[in-house]
Subunit: 254 residues, 7 copies
């Protein structure tokens, strides 16, 4: 940044001369340094994958929850500031419950994603608060079919066939763009996701601790895979797993 | 900007010595860097065109909605910060519904455009919030005939025969000023718009992904054209389409 | 401004050592860069004239409204920031309607002008908002006769026989001071105003697009002149009109 | 001001090391640059005089009101920022009316002056607003006799036999100190005031446009003198009046 | 002040590294530059003395009130910013009246002084307002005997036998420390006070205009001495009075 | 920190260009300089240990409470700013009581830890307050078994088998990672904790004053060990205790 | 402080990079410059001692109250900013009375001290106010025995056997650490305190004016010692008292 640009980046209520909101860009940077997460649609349903980043073996690994059930038919995964992501997930859960109470039916996934994004946008326009330093992938199946959304710290909202956010987004997106097919089976999609996660962390000598959630297109139910199921998929992905002890351990996120 | 001018551009509540509100100018810059959008009146109705900017083929293209139905007889298209534009569109929809409930009739397009602009103006005068970094073209047909408005981040409001905003406004406006005629048919107007969009992006080696909405002067109904209808119009425009793979991909907007 | 003076001009709540409110001066500068507007009393009534500044022929010229009806017997014209002027006009209209509802009679023009000026003053004293970057000429006929007021961003209020504000105020005022007579007919006043407008823009090679409103002293009714009426007056003014195509086009106001 | 002193003068809520409130001093400076006004007690009543500062002959001179009736028995004259003075006058009028309604009798002039000064003081102590850049002379006759008060932007309140504020205070005060006598007739007091006003503006080659208000000690009624009465007094003052056309015209106040 | 200390003195809510509140010190400085005031207990009651600082003979001298009756049994004198002192006196009067209404008895002087000091303290701790730039001497007689308090801009409260504040505090205090005796008669105390006032202003070539208030220990009544009574005491003090005309005139306080 | 980074660390509502909230990092630094605390799960229950930091023998040692009972089944230990930790503990106690009153059952430890963390997160997003400079270990036994949580100033929440925070976290964590086993008895866990505490302070020549709390997995009751019980465990740990007099005394925490 | 550290010390809501709240440290500095105060437990009760700092003999010495009765069984002494200490004492008295009214029993001293400290902590976390620049020793006897607490501007709370705060804390604490014994009689404790006070002020050539309060362990009553009782204890302490006249007089506290 040139000295002339300095100072435009201290408040969300200030535009820079080129029409940017630097504080929103910086919040997006928090996501770009977050955990690598992924979502993939398939013929049979949607898979969400995430690298859990276990910084010490003394952590209760199962307590590091990065994939969250929002409602029976909706799951979400967060990247960026951990506590911000949790706050967004809580908000999504409340919105889903309000819909149940108000209309006596499950919330449309598109409506839920838009409500969350509208809230995120407001924090980029009003003073006194900072934007969220976290992004969500929201996945679900409803009467309109499979939906996979990315919310962004700017309040923008995107729908994808397959997408990754977080530290290794670029590497993963390249792999998805070349190998992802919309007619994959759920198993094929999960295996592709696992390969991409391992690939993306290989360069830093890190090994992911993978957590997976799926929403079945038939039952419209979200569930998290058990550790053994995840292991089965990893073996199907035929990863040449490095020795866990020698692998670099990622830093703890905030 | 000279050093003497620095500092006047940090808050919307501060005038510069030459009587300008820099923060409003910077918000307008966000629009000048936004998607290229267009509106054209014709004998048969109004056409809205936009380049959707698909940054990756993994995006669900149809989910990238830049043309919005506001009411049966009104459509709008936004340029600038994506989430800000969505917030303005939401506000317009609510105003339209309030009119239905209060007066039991569709809202006048001029009144709707003024209400939105009044709200935008207030955000240029009160501290604690920033101006909207987004502009709208609002098009519709009501008892006063065809109306095509541009709202500006300053709160100014303009009515046009044909207009473009966004990244390539200047190129498109020049083409419209020389080739647009008020007695064009809707088809002729759409074809002119498509040609202008392709032309304006040619220089950067980009190819637009065009979305089109129309309001028929007879039925007073807004509708978005289907992908095949858009393709038909593009073929009528006789564009020499470059190879999609080799074309540069625009950056994702915020 | 000397370095020692810097910093006193960042907030309306701060006086400079010489007892000035710089932010108010800067808001006045916005008026000094606005459209050239004029008001002239005559034997038969008051005329308001304005240069509409059409920046492109694609604009719907009649939609560029700079002269506003406030009530049956009152008209107004704004110069400075477009959206600010609209906000002041709206406020004036509401005040006029409140008077109808409360007292069942048309508002006195002097009272209306003072109410608007009081509101403008408050924005020069309280923090959190900026002053209005717009001034109004308010003209009307009531039981006290013809009234022609100028409101100023400082909240000051002046009553004139004939007055001009905006970009070419000085040139126009000189011409009025030398040629204006209180016993002119309305036609003579309008012709003088047109000449002054053309004269003042001549130097920049610009041609005004003139809009005119009149309040008849007998009927006490405000009305805007039709385009053909305006053309008639222009021909009476015997202007040597330059070729419209070759004339410089004014920049769009904010 | 030395560099060490800089910065203490940016807010009314900040004392300088020498215990001063610079913002209040700067507001007083606005008065020192305002219109020259005067008040003089006499055997027969009090006179208020002011130079109206007509900057152009196109102004409706009678509309430039600087002497205001507050209640039947009270008049006031303001100097400094025009709109601030008007706001203080409005406040005084409301206080006078509240007294009528609450106690069914005219307000004591001392109480009125104190209420206005208390309000002015508060604006020197609370953040978020600026002090008033205007001072009032409040003159009246009540059961305690003739009263002539000066309110100051600091909230201080002074009672005088004769006093002047505004641009030429020092010159006028010197003249009053040497020539004013408490046993003057009202006519003698007015003539002295006129002389002092002409004298004080002589140096700048300016000619005052004088407005006069009087409160009769018998009738306890405030009234403004007619233009012809003012002319009579000016002729009694035997001023060698320079040619109005050649005289310098004062700048318009804010 | 060293550069390192700069900046700690801009807000009452900021401590300096050495644990000081500079804004409170600066408010105390306003008192150190205020009128010289004095209070002295005696066998017969308490005397309050003040130099009224008449800056021009056109002032109504008796209107310059610096000694105030708070309640029948309490008087007060202020030094520092004039309008701030008046605000504190008003507050004291209201507190005294509240006590009458609530308990049907005169307020204890100690309680009154503490209530005022508590209020002053709060303005040194909360942001958004500045401390009072004024100090009071509060004197009275109640069932606990004679009381003489000094309130300070810090909110501290002191009780004295004899005390002075304002511009010449140090000179006066030295004189009191050497000559004051608790067994003085009221007359002796007043004469001592007058001598001290004259002495302290001698150096600057100024002559005080003395105002005196007393509270009798028997009747417990506060009253202000008449001008002739004051003159009698001055003659008893046997002052070698300089010619009033040649004496320097003090500047007007704010 | 490079000069370019300066300024991003003055408010919790400002991101740095690399997406960090410096104020939250600085609050974490307050924890890193706090008392060394530890929590260890075992077969028989959870142990919390803390070094109490007695800075002078005149302190009532038992009053230095760093381990707090939250509810019958929950204990907590704080590190960082002492008063902030107490505020968090109070909040936890209130949440536990609200659960008793609302649901008539003891609060789930996971829910309690999340509620506290949600509150902490909000203080990292809203302006006007600072983040908590304190972290808690929350330990308890409920129907889901043994739970041991760490709350962080960022609002992040972690669950551990064994964990340490505060001044010597790194040393202690290394020792725990190499020697801790999930099948330890409570006694073995406590002895390991004591050894780690002594080890970690050895380098600075300091001797810990150890306080211990335990929650039994059977009874689900929290209790603090008596001084004699603590001594027994210390002797079991077979520490070569240096002479208390010669040992360095830690500084008092804030 | 290095330049890099500058700026972190301007607001209580800003942490420094090393996790400190400088404004709280500066408030503690105000205490370190305050009056020297002391508290000592003994077999028979608790003694509070303070140096009253009489800056002039014109002060009513008995009015300089630094030891306050909070409730029948509780006394307190303040050091630091005088008015802040009074505000804390008032708060403590109100809390004690609320307890009487709510529970019909005297407040526990531990609860009282915690309530005051919680309030102090909040002023270190919320913006808009500054921390208290004062600390209290709170001493009392209740059903839990003798209690002696120190509140700190950070909100931390400590319980002591014997403690000193204020200007000479270090000297006094050293003396107490070497000579204080828990089995002292009240008389021995008071004599030790007096010796320590004299000793600590000796270096600056100052002589303390001692005020003493005691709470008897049997009667649980707080009372202040009379001047003659204090003199008796001073003579028992066998102080070589310097000549009062020649002794340096301490500066007045704020």
């Amino acid at each position: 940044m040139t000295p002339q640009m300095m100072g435009y980046d201290r408040a969300i209520t200030v535009f820079s001369p080129d029409g940017r909101l630097f504080q929103v860009h910086y919040a997006q940077e928090a996501v770009r340094r977050g955990a690598t997460v992924m979502g993939l649609k398939s013929k049979d349903g949607i898979a969400l994958l995430v690298d859990k980043r276990i910084s010490t073996k003394l952590l209760e690994a199962e307590s590091i929850e990065k994939i969250f059930k929002i409602d029976d038919h909706i799951g979400a995964v967060a990247s960026g500031l951990v506590a911000d992501g949790r706050a967004l997930v809580d908000r999504a859960r409340v919105e889903a419950q309000i819909n149940h109470i108000t209309y006596d039916e499950p919330i449309s996934i598109g409506i839920l994603a838009k409500k969350i994004s509208d809230h995120i946008q407001q924090l980029t326009q009003y003073g006194g608060m900072r934007p969220y330093g976290s992004a969500l992938l929201i996945a679900g199946v409803d009467e309109t079919g499979q939906r996979l959304f990315e919310t962004d710290p700017s309040g923008a909202l995107y729908e994808y066939k397959a997408v990754s956010i977080g530290a290794n987004r670029n590497t993963v997106m390249e792999m998805l763009e070349s190998q992802y097919r919309t007619d994959m089976s759920l198993e094929e999609a999960i295996v592709l996701g696992i390969k991409a996660l391992y690939k993306s962390m290989e360069a830093k000598g890190e090994v992911p601790t993978i957590e997976i959630g799926v929403i079945d297109v038939e039952t419209r139910k979200f569930r998290k895979l058990s550790e053994s199921e995840v292991k089965d998929y990893i073996s199907k992905a035929d990863i040449k797993k490095p020795d866990a002890e020698s692998a670099a351990r990622p830093e703890r996120e905030e």
